[in-house]
Amino acid sequence: MTIVRDMLATGDFNYMSQQKMPDGSLLVILTLRGDNHIYKLWVRDLYQPTEQVIKEEITPP
């Protein structure tokens, strides 16, 4: 499991938003108070058996 997907799975975040991408994937954005990083996860079929993590990106403050 990737770092950002693991954060989502364990609930280790304070803020979440999601955006559907033109290619059908889902962009999940997580932030954690006091941490100031932006955690992005591109994923298909989130929470489905066919879930596939495409990529993730962690933006430092």
Binding site: G11, N14, M16, S17, Q18, R33, Y47
Partner: protein, 139 residues
């Protein structure tokens, strides 16, 4: 201790690690669903509550505005719906936006899928946004 003043002492301050704090007080949670939509299209943000946790949603806030200036003075009707798996928990609507504090907060148990949806219910294109806030704690 003087009346009205907290009984703080420098030697009584605890340093608590995040997981320990979360287990005692809960972790603040906010979920946002926002996008540009037309009539009856929806934006959704989903989250499965981790094992051993409980999610409590206490507040819902919504906002909607027309994407075209020509429609700015029309009704900007939007709707927020919260689901857990297939059960509708709450449906609220407003014109231009809304803010609701739930006197009976939504409780979503571990393993359940929480879905925050916001709909455009106007007959023109709008930017709609819904924010659900609350907290999550270890059960």
């Amino acid at each position: 201790m003087a009346k009205g003043r907290p009984d703080f002492s420098p030697t009584a301050v605890d340093v608590i690690l995040r997981p320990e704090w979360a287990a005692q007080e809960g972790t603040d949670k906010q979920f946002l669903a926002e996008d540009v939509k037309t009539y009856r299209q929806l934006v959704e943000t989903i989250y499965t509550v981790p094992a051993g946790r409980k999610l409590i949603i206490t507040d819902l806030i919504g906002r909607a505005f027309a994407t075209a200036a020509a429609n700015a003075d029309l009704n900007q009707i939007m709707e927020i719906t919260c689901f857990t798996d297939t059960t509708e928990l709450v449906i609220v609507g407003g014109n231009g936006g809304l803010a609701v504090t739930l006197s009976k907060p939504l409780v979503i148990l571990a393993g359940a899928l929480f879905s925050l949806r916001t709909y455009c219910n106007a007959n023109h294109e709008m930017n709609v946004a819904a924010l659900a806030s609350g907290y999550e704690y270890v059960v």
